[in-house]
């Protein structure tokens, strides 16, 4: 088993938002070419390509991308893993480099979602003329609304409320304050889809989507892409010194699925697989949560951010509410969380998200994050979770 370090030498994300004049391949091409340029490396040196896209999962976006930026005949892995798709594409590239199959890997995540509406929402189906049981529950029609909800805003609302039931203190206002933080952070991120600061009152009085999540407390559907170049330790040492000095070490790269837990097939358990991934990542990296200078975690809804403070062990078990109320996850706090603005304001082009959150960490560790730079950042963690479920965690370190 390879134990040599993996390095990120090139990283890029497009502006997130509406790109009506660009298709999925345009966005992927932009991020890929910019990442290659950032790494000062030619596509001819890339030996493996991992490409994530959810909405066109069977369309071979990886090969479509090659047709536009360069067909070199290398293996392409088109992956789809819910909201963890981007992290999965990167995992593929890292695994190939770790396995010694190539020295240079590229990972791309891309999505076009602007105007897509809320995901998982289905239109009404016409009622059958005679009742017909269907599927694994033998249901006579859609269970949505009849047997609770399966749509994302409702599921993640229940995830947060479940935490509140278990530990207390998780009010509508508390969740809204988490959103207030992320929207405030976004004002410093020029690549965020939304850069508007909201008052707490504005957030709480906005349109309710799925209590306790109002519209600004939900991640925004938008277009975007992110790409990353990873290399082996040996390759890194052969790169020009300007590339080496900006390289960021991948100290941990972990992907988990949800293990069986009581009740996990009733309300998806997004906690256990995140805790497992976090434990594995801290162990792999040889760092603890106390060493992290910043964290990008998967705040697909404000209610989700709360539980992940706990899952990522940024606080003691059951202590997420106190952790937030201490001010710790604000950018001037002791453990800045989602200084990019998070999915609620940066936007959530699903397959791009799992690479874009790592890109954010890379920028801070390089000292290239501009106005939102966390000064002196040396260790950062990026977390992403896709319902179903898949969790990706990467811990990055500035070593040079």
């Amino acid at each position: 088993m390879g134990t040599d370090a993996i390095w990120i030498i090139g990283s890029n994300m497009t502006k997130f938002g509406k790109h009506p004049d660009k298709d999925v391949v345009d966005l992927a091409a932009e991020a890929s070419r910019d990442a290659l340029q950032d790494a000062d490396i030619s596509l001819s040196e890339v030996g493996v390509l991992g490409v994530g896209n959810l909405m066109n999962a069977s369309a071979g976006i990886g090969q479509q991308l090659q047709k536009q930026i360069g067909q070199t005949g290398i293996p392409v892995f088109n992956v789809s893993n819910a909201c963890a798709t981007g992290a999965t594409a990167l995992r593929v590239a890292i695994m190939a480099v770790k396995a010694g199959e190539t020295d240079v890997g590229m990972a791309v995540g891309v999505e076009k979602l602007a105007g897509a509406g809320l995901l998982g929402q289905r239109g009404p189906k016409p009622e059958a003329e005679t009742w017909q049981p269907n599927g694994r529950f033998g249901a006579l029609s859609s269970t949505e609304g009849r047997i609770g909800t399966s749509i994302m805003p409702g599921v993640f609302a229940q995830v947060g409320m479940e935490y509140g039931h278990k530990y207390g203190g998780a009010s509508f206002e508390l969740f809204a304050k988490i959103s207030e933080k992320n929207h405030a952070h976004s004002t410093l991120n020029p690549l965020a889809a939304y850069q508007k600061r909201f008052t707490l009152e504005e957030i709480m009085n906005d349109v309710m989507i799925a209590y306790p999540n109002t519209r600004p407390m939900c991640s925004g559907n938008c277009d975007g892409a992110a790409a990353m170049i990873v290399v082996s330790d040996e390759k890194m040492k052969s790169m020009p010194s300007e590339v080496q000095s900006r390289a960021v070490k991948v100290s941990a790269s972990v992907l988990t699925s949800d293990p069986y837990e009581d009740g996990c097939q009733i309300l998806p358990d997004v906690n256990t697989l995140t805790k497992n991934a976090a434990s594995q990542a801290y162990e792999q990296a040889g760092v603890g949560p106390e060493d992290l200078d910043l964290v990008e975690l998967h705040d697909c809804f404000a209610t989700a951010e709360l539980v992940h403070y706990d899952n990522l062990m940024l606080c003691e078990e059951g202590g997420a509410v106190d952790f937030f109320q201490s001010g710790a996850p604000w950018r001037d706090g002791t453990k800045p969380v989602n200084v990019s603005g998070g999915l609620q304001s940066k936007g959530h082009p699903i397959a791009a998200t799992g690479i874009a959150n790592i890109h954010e960490i890379v920028m801070h560790l390089r000292g290239e994050a501009g106005d939102r730079q966390i000064e002196g950042a040396r260790v950062g963690l990026a977390h992403v979770i896709g319902l179903g479920s898949a969790c990706g965690i990467h811990i990055l370190e500035k070593v040079a």
Binding site: T143, G145, R146, I147, T149, V155, Q158, H165, M208, L267
Partner: protein, 128 residues
């Protein structure tokens, strides 16, 4: 007496008197499921027995879904150790009327008849 035949909205709603929810319990480890199974996700065995789930429980999580014209309450109910997903009926769908820890019980209601005269019956939970 009505001669109408009835059909449950889902297989796991048993239209007895009184109606109840029926789980498939793994004979090896006790894990409970409501769907058609190939094997147990916990212990991989594939021997199951039908068990009646307690019809009263406690709301351990909920959300009020307000994306359509008719807001409704989606909830997870702990029915004596078995979690059930449901819609809470007979309650104003506002945070003033739905609370964590609220006690609820199983209820059924008609979804109407198809053109062969078969009546579909669905379940929800209502406050006790």
């Amino acid at each position: 007496m009505s001669s109408t035949t009835q059909i449950p909205f889902v297989d796991y709603l048993i239209l007895d008197d009184p109606p109840y929810l029926q789980a498939q319990e793994c004979k090896s480890c006790g894990a409970r499921y409501f769907d058609r199974r190939n094997a147990c996700a916990n212990c991989f065995a594939n021997n199951f027995q039908p068990v009646a789930v307690q019809s009263e429980g406690v709301v351990t999580s909920f959300s009020i879904i307000q994306m359509g014209p008719n807001p409704y309450v989606s909830a997870i109910v702990d029915c004596g150790g078995t979690n059930v997903k449901c819609t809470i009926m007979k309650v104003e769908p506002t945070p003033d009327h739905v609370t964590l820890g609220m006690r609820v019980k199983l209820m059924t209601y008609s979804m109407g008849e198809d053109n062969e005269g078969t009546e579909a019956v669905a379940f929800g939970f209502e406050p006790i």
